[in-house]
């Protein structure tokens, strides 16, 4: 029962239009509110998802997002075919950032994205291969 996916949603994450940045996270936030998930859990899920979504955009050049809701948890997955992360441990350090000048001008790339996900999620894994892309998996318990 624990492993039955009760609800699933997929998103195409485009890096082309700044007006759509963060839309997937906003949509899931609405879904979680409709499911009656407590505000604090929604906040943690939405913040983690938003950071991961922005990473997919500014580092991965876009990709796809998928959200699975189970009886006791929500699983958020983002995949991209970007440059990958050479040193994940280093990337996890607060303040460390490889964001481009352009991304920084848009207010992103402060080096707080991954630490923020770690802080707000219950489980967090990154699989990355330089040159191939990155997959981020976040679990927030309901």
């Amino acid at each position: 029962m624990e492993d039955t996916v009760l609800f699933r949603k997929q998103y195409v994450i485009s890096a082309d239009d700044p007006l759509t940045f963060g839309e997937a996270s906003s949509d899931i936030k609405k879904t979680l509110k409709q499911l009656g998930v407590p505000p604090d859990v929604i906040r943690r899920a939405a913040v983690s998802m938003y950071e991961a979504e922005i990473n997919t955009i500014i580092h991965g050049g876009g990709g796809e997002g998928e959200v699975f809701i189970y009886a006791g948890r929500v699983k958020i997955v983002f995949r991209d075919q970007g440059p990958g992360i050479p040193d994940i441990e280093k990337a996890m350090q607060p303040g460390f950032s490889t964001a481009s000048e352009k991304a920084r001008e848009m207010g992103f790339g402060a080096g707080l994205g991954l630490p923020n996900i770690k802080k707000n999620s219950d489980e967090f894994t990154i699989e990355s291969e330089p040159g191939k892309g990155t997959t981020v998996t976040i679990i927030v318990r309901l």
Partner: protein, 434 residues
């Protein structure tokens, strides 16, 4: 939830059942049986529907100008927005004198109380740096919007009493303590204040006895203004206090922080959306006003909000920017905080208390939504196709309420009918028919 007071009401006779009001920020309106119907659990009395209704079918239930006559001693609390309603030559002193001519025994400027609220706000800001950004609690429609749509942000709401309530406390507890049959009336730009008095969220009861909309007092006050020659010097509010009537004014009062001022309830909702995503960086304080331009844009005002705003700014610039006079002695005397600070979320979006059931409903909604045209035309009486899908799942609407679905059904029915009509049973067929 029958019996919950709402100021905003529908005048059924005037309502044509058009869909103009469906853009409600809490999706509280549906058109049912040819008339707009307000869902009481969802309405936050922001008055957006009053502003947009072309037939003036949305009204604010308030007290009438005659109601204050049942008190022996009457005090008017004019909102600073009132000062922007008249010709710039009419001074604040003249407006205050005009109110006395109308039959009030005394006036106390809400603008003065706003200066006291600002002092308290600065104090809370200094204490709660860890919770930044904090959200202003002065607009009651905004507080209710957060309670319903953004419950995760409730802890960041300031919980400083509104200038109106602080003014009423000063009048009742400090200026006229023990006065018998004292009636305190707020001259209001908006219906949200009416609800905040009749059905308060943050205290057992309000010290305000009645509310008179600016639009109702406008003409009588205009007439009494012409009877005032040289008014007595009564104005005690400063630049800070009267600026509170316009967007950015409260922020100017708080000063010294990074302040984002947002006006218009839909703009505020968008801001809170981004705040939930932790998208707002380097913002300490959010001044949020439900009405365009600030309180001067209230649905119960008369003058164009932007004209009124310019007048308030001009009047403010003539005044000192330090608090002086009237508010000073009351600064530490009255309670400036909410009496009940524990504000419970009211998550209207929740589909069902049972998680499993909510998931099933969510699933059905997604499926239904893909079968709807996505035009959000409102002809079904719901504000959007997604809202119709939600109403269907909640059992308050049917799929055929969508005129496009209905047309599709009629079309397939007519094809079926034509096919059946052309069908000849074997016993009736003749040799030349095949």
């Amino acid at each position: 939830m029958a019996g919950i007071f709402h100021s905003v009401k529908l005048n059924r006779e005037k309502c044509k059942g058009c869909t103009t009001c469906l853009g409600c920020p809490t999706e509280a309106i549906r058109v049912r049986n040819g008339k707009a119907a307000i869902v009481p659990e969802r309405c936050i009395d922001c008055g957006l529907c009053i502003r947009v209704c072309p037939y003036h079918a949305k009204e604010a239930q308030s007290d009438s100008l005659d109601d204050f006559k049942r008190f022996d001693f009457r005090v008017a609390l004019p909102a600073p927005a009132l000062y922007g309603q008249f010709n710039p030559k009419i001074t604040v002193d003249k407006i205050l004198a005009g109110l006395i001519k109308l039959g009030f025994d005394d006036v106390f400027e809400v603008a003065s109380a706003a200066e006291i609220a600002a002092v308290e706000t600065r104090r809370v800001m200094a204490e709660k740096k860890d919770s930044f950004p904090l959200i202003s609690s002065s607009c009651p429609a905004i507080v209710r919007l957060i309670q319903l749509r953004f419950p995760g942000l409730l802890d960041q709401v300031l919980r400083v009493e509104s200038p109106m309530e602080i003014a009423a406390r000063i009048v009742r507890q400090e200026i006229y303590p023990g006065k018998k049959n004292l009636g305190i009336f707020f001259i209001s730009p908006c219906p949200a204040k009416i609800t905040a008095v009749k059905n308060p969220l943050n205290k057992p009861r309000s010290e305000v006895d009645g509310i008179i909309p600016i639009k109702d007092i406008y003409l009588p006050l205009l007439a009494s203004l012409s009877e005032v020659d040289v008014p007595e010097k009564k104005q005690a509010s400063s630049f800070l206090g009267i600026s509170w009537a316009v967007s950015q004014g409260e922020g100017d009062n708080v000063g010294g922080f990074n302040i984002a001022a947002v006006d218009g309830i839909l703009n505020a909702a968008k801001m809170f959306e981004e705040m939930e995503n932790r998208r707002l960086r380097n913002v300490d304080f959010i001044e949020a006003m439900a009405c365009p331009g600030g309180c001067v844009g209230g649905p119960l005002t008369v003058e164009n909000p932007y004209i009124a705003k310019a007048r308030i700014r001009n009047k403010a610039l003539e005044l000192s920017s330090v608090m002086e006079g009237a508010p000073q002695p009351f600064l530490t005397k009255v309670n400036t905080r909410w009496l009940n600070e524990d504000l419970k979320p009211r998550p209207i979006q929740k589909l069902d208390d049972n998680f499993q059931r909510a998931i099933e409903m969510m699933d059905q909604m997604e499926k239904l939504a893909t079968g709807l045209p996505g035009l959000d035309c409102g002809a079904c009486g719901a504000p959007s196709c997604r809202a119709l899908a939600e109403d269907i799942v909640r059992g308050t609407a049917r799929k055929n309420d969508c005129i496009f679905v209905l047309r599709e059904e009629i079309r397939s029915l007519s094809i079926n009918l034509a096919e059946l009509g052309a069908w000849v049973p074997q016993s009736m067929k003749r040799d030349n028919e095949e």
